[in-house]
Every structure is written in structure tokens, then in C-alpha cells.
């Protein structure tokens, strides 16, 4: 019983954090729009191309994708085929859901592991962006890995939700 309560707390917190992370990603969409607009204005008025808009736009896109990943999972926004799944008995459906979610958990751990590897590599090799900003790449890449770790948390939450049969 105590275990079940702990699980419920984790689920609530995980859902909440994913919500915040999604909100941050949403704000980045707005910032992305503004930065690109400013870049075009500057280019038209002063005929200089800084390409900062391009570079920052790319970082923001990666941030939107990964910080939005756990939120999208919570909102059931990642698509799957349930045509065949629906034909199984309810009990078997649950087993299959657990199995595929478990596999997803392993994959997410691998993504986090190799994402971390990339950060370390960029940091030690001092990889920089080619633009005027010369951004050390490990900084935006860290945002990606933070997103993957949040995704890992939410995948774990979905797994526990199935396991403990917690209604949303």
C-alpha cells in the first residue's frame, strides 16, 4: 500500500515536470519566431548576414524536440499503431504494453548514455559552431540530454502507471 502511494507521488510529479518542460519548449517556439524575424530585418536593413538566426534556430529546434518529448508522451502525442493491439484480450494488451514500454525504457537509457558521450566528446575536443558566435557545442547538446532524461522519467512513469493500474 505504501509502495502504491509512492508510485502515485512519482506519477504526479513526473506529469507536472513534463508539463513545465513542455511549456518551456512552447516558449522556445515563440523565441525562435522572434529571433528569425530579427535576423531577416537586420539582413534587409543593413545588408549583413549574421547567420546567428540560423545557428540559434537550430539549437532551439533541438531544444523544442527534446524538451517537448516527455510532454508529448504525457499527452499521448507520439503515434503508434493500435489497430492490431485492440484485437487482443485486455489482459494480453496490458502485457504487450508493458513489454513495449520496457523496450522503450531501455532505448531511452541508450539515447541518454550516448547523448552524454557526445557532450563529453564535444567538451574535451572543444567543438565549436562555425558561426560568429563560436558556441561551444556541448552547451546546446546538454539541453538535448536534459530532455532525454526527462523523457526517461516520463517513460518510467507510463510504465509504472500500467503496472500499478493507476488511472489518469
Amino acid at each position: 500500500m505504501k509502495m502504491r502511494r509512492t508510485v502515485k507521488v512519482f506519477l504526479t510529479q513526473s506529469d507536472r515536470i513534463s508539463g513545465h518542460s513542455g511549456f518551456v519548449a512552447a516558449m522556445m517556439v515563440v523565441v525562435m519566431m522572434l529571433i528569425i524575424i530579427v535576423e531577416v530585418v537586420v539582413r534587409t536593413l543593413f545588408s549583413v548576414s549574421t547567420l546567428i538566426g540560423v545557428e540559434v534556430g537550430e539549437y532551439l529546434l533541438a531544444a523544442v524536440v527534446f524538451l517537448g518529448a516527455s510532454y508529448t508522451l504525457r499527452e499521448k502525442g507520439h503515434i503508434k499503431i493500435d489497430l492490431v493491439l485492440k484485437r487482443f484480450k485486455e489482459k494480453n494488451q496490458k502485457v504487450l504494453n508493458l513489454a513495449t514500454m520496457g523496450l522503450t525504457l531501455i532505448i531511452t537509457i541508450l539515447l541518454a548514455r550516448y547523448g552524454w558521450h557526445l557532450i563529453i566528446q564535444s567538451y574535451t575536443l572543444k567543438t565549436e559552431a562555425w558561426s560568429v558566435l563560436r558556441t561551444p557545442l556541448f552547451i546546446p547538446q546538454s539541453v538535448m540530454v536534459v530532455g532525454i532524461i526527462l523523457l526517461l522519467m516520463q517513460v518510467g512513469a507510463e510504465l509504472l502507471r500500467q503496472l500499478y493500474n493507476v488511472q489518469e
Binding site: 519566431m33 507520439h78 499503431i81 493500435d82 513489454a99 522503450t104 550516448y114
Partner: protein
């Protein structure tokens, strides 16, 4: 290891995972890692971090959230109902009445939103209740929406084309321009079909007896012109080479916000929900891109796409037969997957083949876009059919019958564009910059 063997293993694993209900993006990543660990081995899995990063931090794809954001804002400030109200009295006077204006509204809305489902669903929610009340045949209503929806990804901006451009290294601007003329032809053929059908069976539509009034003209200007202005601004700046499609998309989103302010409909809630919706779709699509690029990395390292292209070429069958086989392949895939997934999944393997057959990359992008739409409408299970059923509550059999003419027209269009590629390539060729 022979490439047939590799493809067979990875494909069957993917099918099993998808059928068992793993999320598409994670199923792709699972197969990708299986390939990285067991087919390539060694240090190969370590590349996955960099593959992930390069697939997501891609400037061309920045256009995806921008265009979705723009479409979401425009939908939420009620542009669809304004469009419908504005175009209805105009196009509704043609034989076929509001059915024609369904196609027209879809075509215009297609130039605002990047997806076929969004187009059909948005216009559908406005159109279906009014039209059923007036006594239009239900099959004809959903048919026209399904057909109109297919214009959604053909007429630019189109999310599918942006992804194609990014994956196949083709200019998104040229792809957008390539979709314009086929989109207009397609809309014209759909309208023609409705007119002929209604002439033969007049009982399918009620008599529309509204005379055109000057008030309606004023309304038309107020409701439709701002939307047209926005479309021309976005597409025009791409055509003139003033901005890249990504930059045009950002301006479009800003334009949508200004339009919302002008209509006094914009709230913080709308901006927030629009942005959140853009986050969801972007994250969903790009995680699929990432999963698929893990697989393509494996395949490319084993030289599978090149071997496949060589093998197909050595069979000595004609270009057109290979194209026909591809059409059949996509029709089958459309039973299981959504358009974006199908494209992301098949492109890395198909593209080398297409190029070695000597097809133009922009031309094939447009053909593939039409083909994906057809695939999503064809029975037994097209994904779009389900959405249309949900919003229209029509009987599934009725729905299938009603949509047949539209995808037959689209297949005829593919044949026409194959016979006459200039229809696709003329406008991109006229682009400035």
C-alpha cells in the same frame, strides 16, 4: 552480408514492434540500435549521439514548428469559419453549391496549414453541421472534404515537403513551388467531378436560392482578403528569393498573430496552446526522423541503398514499371502508417534508386506527396478515413465509396504529371534567387 538479408531482418523486426504497439519513433530507434550493435558493432553505437544531434539541429526543419504555429494560431482565431463564410456565397452559386466551396475553402486553408488532416478536420467541423442541415448528401459532403484535405499537403506550405527537402537535400522552396500547379489542377478536377456528378444526380444537393448581394462582397473582402494577403506574403517571399522557407514561416506566424490582434480574437491562451501544439507535432515528427536516421546510418554503412539501386537497375525493367511498383508499395504502407512516417522511413532507401533512374528530385517530391495522400485514403485502412469518420460520423462503407472518385482523380493526376513533368517543374524554374 547481402543487402536483401539485412533489409529482411530489420524490416521484420520493425513490423513486429509496430504491430505490438510500440510508439513508431521508439520502434525505429530500437531497430536502429539493433543494427548499430549487432550489424555494425564496435564503436558504431557511439555515433548515435551525433546522429541524434544532427537530425534535430537542422535549419530546414525549423520551418516545421513555425508553419504549425502559424496554422494553429489562424485556426484558433477562427479563420476557417471566416473563410467558409466568405467563400460560401461565391463558390456556392456554382452547380454543386457548398460542395464546391468545400473544395475551395480546403484549397485556401491548405495554403495556410501544412497538413491534410488539419485541413479536412478544420473545414469539416465548420461545414458538416450546416450542410447536413440544408440537406446535402452525407457521402458527397465527406467525399469533398477528403478530396479537399488531400490538397492540404500538396498546396504549400506543406510539412511533408519540408521533411522531404531535409531528408533528400532538395530545396524546400522549389518543392513548394512545384506543388502549386498540381494543387490547382487537382482542385479544379475535384470541382469538375462534383459538378458532373450533381448534374447527373440533382437530388444529392438542395437548391441554393441565395442571390448574390453586395453585402456579401464586402464580407468577402473583410474575411478572405487578409488570409490571401498572408498567403501571398509567405509564398511570395519564397518565390522571390527574399527569404528561405524557414524565414517565411516565422514571418507567417508573426502575421497570424497580427491578424489575430486585428480581429480582436488573440489571447495569451491562444498563443500558448498554439505553441504547445507546435511542440507536440514537432517532437512527434522529429523523434521519428531521429529513429529513422539511426536505421539509415546502419543501412548506409552496409551500402544497402546503393546495392539495392544497382540490383533494381540490373533487372532491366523500365522506369515506369518501377514507378508503378513504388506506387503499389506506398498504397500498402498507407494502410499502416501515417504519411510523414512512411516518407521518413522509405526515403533513405528509395532516394538513391530514384536518382539513379534519372528522375528529378523535386518532381519526385511532388509525386510522392500526392501518392502519400492517396495512400491514406485508399481502403481497406487509410489513416485519413478514420479521422473523417470521427468528425463526420458517416458509415465506414459509405465513406469508402464517397472517397473513391477523389483518389482515382489523384492517381490520374500522378499519371498526368509523369507524362508531363513540366507541370511540376515550370514554376520552380521561374523562381528568382
Amino acid at each position: 552480408m547481402s543487402s536483401t538479408f539485412v533489409i529482411a531482418i530489420l524490416t521484420s523486426l520493425l513490423i513486429v514492434l509496430l504491430v505490438l504497439g510500440q510508439h513508431i519513433c521508439f520502434a525505429l530507434a530500437t531497430v536502429g540500435f539493433v543494427g548499430l550493435f549487432f550489424l555494425l558493432g564496435g564503436n558504431a553505437p557511439r555515433s548515435s549521439g551525433l546522429i541524434m544531434w544532427h537530425s534535430a539541429a537542422h535549419f530546414v526543419l525549423v520551418a516545421v514548428p513555425m508553419f504549425i504555429f502559424m496554422g494553429e494560431i489562424l485556426t484558433r482565431i477562427g479563420l476557417a469559419s471566416r473563410l467558409y463564410a466568405g467563400l460560401g456565397p461565391m463558390l456556392g452559386r456554382l452547380p454543386g453549391g457548398l460542395l464546391i466551396s468545400n473544395i475551395g475553402s480546403c484549397a485556401v486553408f491548405a495554403a495556410i496549414s501544412g497538413s491534410s488532416l488539419a485541413t479536412a478536420a478544420t473545414i469539416g467541423t465548420v461545414a458538416i453541421p450546416t450542410m447536413e442541415q440544408r440537406g446535402y448528401d452525407r457521402g458527397m459532403i465527406v467525399g469533398s472534404l477528403a478530396g479537399g484535405g488531400t490538397l492540404g499537403i500538396l498546396i504549400p506550405p506543406s510539412i511533408i515537403m519540408i521533411i522531404y527537402g531535409a531528408l533528400a537535400s532538395e530545396s524546400v522552396g522549389r518543392l513548394f513551388m512545384g506543388g502549386v500547379i498540381p494543387g490547382v489542377i487537382s482542385a479544379g478536377l475535384f470541382m469538375l467531378y462534383i459538378m458532373i456528378r450533381v448534374r447527373a444526380q440533382p437530388h444529392l444537393v438542395p437548391r441554393e436560392e441565395t442571390a448574390f448581394k453586395i453585402v456579401q462582397l464586402r464580407r468577402l473582402f473583410a474575411d478572405v482578403l487578409p488570409a490571401f494577403a498572408l498567403i501571398f506574403m509567405v509564398l511570395g517571399s519564397i518565390y522571390l528569393g527574399v527569404t528561405t522557407p524557414t524565414e517565411a514561416a516565422a514571418w507567417g506566424a508573426a502575421g497570424a498573430i497580427l491578424l489575430g490582434l486585428g480581429y480582436r480574437k488573440l489571447t495569451w491562451q491562444i498563443v500558448k496552446e498554439g505553441a504547445l501544439s507546435a511542440v507536440q507535432t514537432t517532437s512527434m515528427i522529429l523523434l521519428i526522423v531521429i529513429g529513422a536516421s539511426l536505421i539509415s546510418y546502419v543501412l548506409a554503412n552496409l551500402a544497402v541503398p546503393r546495392q539495392l539501386a544497382t540490383a533494381v537497375l540490373s533487372l532491366g525493367i523500365g522506369k515506369l514499371w518501377i514507378l508503378t511498383l513504388l506506387v503499389l508499395l506506398y498504397l500498402v504502407l498507407g494502410c499502416f502508417l501515417d504519411g510523414a512516417s512512411i516518407m521518413i522511413l522509405t526515403l533513405p532507401v528509395i532516394m538513391p534508386l530514384i536518382r539513379s533512374l534519372g528522375f528529378d528530385g523535386v518532381w519526385f517530391g511532388v509525386i510522392l506527396t500526392i501518392l502519400l495522400e492517396v495512400a491514406l485514403l485508399t481502403p481497406p485502412v487509410g489513416m485519413n478515413l478514420y479521422v473523417l469518420q470521427k468528425i463526420s460520423k458517416a458509415d465506414f462503407g459509405q465513406l469508402i465509396l464517397a472517397t473513391i472518385p477523389y483518389w482515382l482523380i489523384d492517381i490520374a493526376l500522378i499519371a498526368l504529371l509523369t507524362a508531363c513533368p513540366t507541370l511540376v517543374l515550370w514554376l520552380p524554374g521561374k523562381m528568382i534567387g
